[in-house]
Subunit: 442 residues, 2 copies
Amino acid sequence: METADLGLPVDVPSTALFTDHYELTMLQAALEGGTAERRSVFEVFTRRLPEGRRYGVVAGTGRVLDAVENFRFDAGLLGFLRERRVVDDATLQWLASYRFSGDIWGYPEGEVYFPGSPILRVEGSFAECVLLETVILSILNHDSAVAAAASRMSSAAGGRPLIEMGARRTHELAAVAAARSAYVGGFETTSDLAAGFRYGIPTVGTSAHAFTLLHDTERDAFRAQVDSLGRDTTLLVDTYDVAEAVRVAVEIAGPELGAVRIDSGDLLLVAHRVRQQLDRLGATETKIVVTSDLDEYAIASLAAAPVDAYGVGTQLVTGSGHPTCSMVYKLVARAESADPKAPLLPVAKKTTGGKTSVGGRKWAARRVDEHGVAEAEVVGTGPVPPELADHQLLVQLVKAGQVVAREPLDVARDRHAAVRDRLPLSATQLSRGEPVLPTEYL
Amino acid sequence: METADLGLPVDVPSTALFTDHYELTMLQAALEGGTAERRSVFEVFTRRLPEGRRYGVVAGTGRVLDAVENFRFDAGLLGFLRERRVVDDATLQWLASYRFSGDIWGYPEGEVYFPGSPILRVEGSFAECVLLETVILSILNHDSAVAAAASRMSSAAGGRPLIEMGARRTHELAAVAAARSAYVGGFETTSDLAAGFRYGIPTVGTSAHAFTLLHDTERDAFRAQVDSLGRDTTLLVDTYDVAEAVRVAVEIAGPELGAVRIDSGDLLLVAHRVRQQLDRLGATETKIVVTSDLDEYAIASLAAAPVDAYGVGTQLVTGSGHPTCSMVYKLVARAESADPKAPLLPVAKKTTGGKTSVGGRKWAARRVDEHGVAEAEVVGTGPVPPELADHQLLVQLVKAGQVVAREPLDVARDRHAAVRDRLPLSATQLSRGEPVLPTEYL
């Protein structure tokens, strides 16, 4: 992770404009009305998991911490807001000195979540908290969607390694975040160099049809690749005839050939044939990498095939059918007045038309059975029952504006694997079903 | 569009690492093997439209031009590649002076496309072209997916304005590109301040439930908002009881109240009731803005409702069920040798397993009937028939490495509206069907 500090090219000078226009106009109205300084508690949660999913995966927490730290309005941004008359001068002046000075608690990255889980809790003045809504939701909704897909794929893959290859299927910077989330969810490597650069994720590459087509013959292409990259390279064998390509590949690289990649056709059938052929040719250690529109179901269907690694693109970076979560950022409690000592009142939207929420500042704990297996997500607003005290889920991430819980990405990755292992077995069933844990409100 | 030049905060110093690892290893092998300088033609196309869609929308072209211009390997990036041993020193040296010096032709931004349309054609040495694959596909696949959804929504909305509100549902920088694509596809405004800053798109805001909940009563909230933002503001009326909220809103703001926003419930029913109530209260000019999980179908279903504007989030930024296109970047022709005068040979992947392509450098034209209505997408590799000469679709975007076709975003937006108007009427049917134009190969 040694290069992560360099930041470029995916750092941005400020995250303050990743903000919806109305956050600033509400701020202006609250400043003018004298309510902006009321102590407030906002919570991020989701009312439901994507249809049929058994659990959600919290990802992006580390990026949220970066975003909060870099949420600053410099002269350029303020000039833009002034020129566009988004808010008045008093508000601009307030924004110029903006630094988040409150507290943030949250589920640590890699944790799982369920409907109603208070995934993130942001506390401070209304003014300082309301501004963070858009960027926090952007990050968590995107990153968690990808991590959930990655987690299902890594379950489906058993112990076989997964390579993230989706950069070309999503926005170029979303791709970097997606590679990061995939890593948290259980992927081993990425093809995305920017993700390697920014987050230290191991990068790998195979070869493309273009390289073969550049050469006069497939043999020329294989020879050029092996000569330059060594015998342990991965040769792409489906440009013309697969059997012929495998024959030539082993002829050129010898049984030390690292791997062959199959990127089209009936992967189950082709993998079996290629394995038999490789073995016949003595290349018993040569691995088979398959790619081509894989999702968790396709991966699971290849469990009995002689496949050594999966490269996954589109379906990973688009959340395997669910490219976003439905996380919301809601005011759940606020002070009666701007007095810092004023007590907090629970608040909640109440209409018959839906989108209602549960007011009050919440804790959450995961109740486990005598074998340590999770049996319920317990969410409450009162005191924490003593038997749940050691099973609480929220940890402090930011204290008085200072990030206090930065951690290497590997910690989040390991956490996810450990947490998933403690869910009931049906959590990793791919078939559609209910959340694997019920959410209980105390 | 006056602030677009400032660049921040979504500019990145270099786009060169938005690249898959294998592009660089292939480059190394081609440099070493003496094939890197073979003149090459790569084309971007898609084999199919998303299931049931009638047409695709090209978006992101302007961003592609920025990406190509900024594709540079500085010392930091080269140091990373060296440290990770991605490629050898000779390749690093080659990368250090990388500037794209070839030509790019493409469908202009806002054009529509069909299966097989050569959306972008990149010509130069193999080495300089192959490196651009990942970033070009990232941009076009993402941006075009959003633009296609936007175009369908804007058809469904008739002339009513659409507000892009999806920032919180997607990656924070993907959101900026999504707002840009939505604008090309027919949206009027965005809530995303970064999109306003970077691309000059008009930004707008309404109000959130949090603002109402911050106050002791809804009346207090409305008064604070109107006092600060004026009577032409948009008040959110579904936090508690809609009818009561509308009554109080008009009482406070008077009939000059700009708009009310409805964000939950049965929008058709509620919009009718709110319209009647507003009219009864004399607020006949007060507009109704609806939001809440809208897609093109929900928008169409509100055609008969008294709705003045639609705010669209999730379904827009996730491409309304199709968050990515399936565009690919394929080598279609290359020279026999590194001699700059060597003739180009068409090349194509040929296997029985699928993913085959049509070799050869292509032109494309849209054949129209006597009324000027499009009737076919014609794609060819030979000479252009004289009757199609004036209907060609590809324009030169980059000439010898220099961008020659930069244009304001409004031009792309206007182009899209004009092009869509010249498609057969069934193009804007929302029901699933075949591409509205057949693709003919000459």
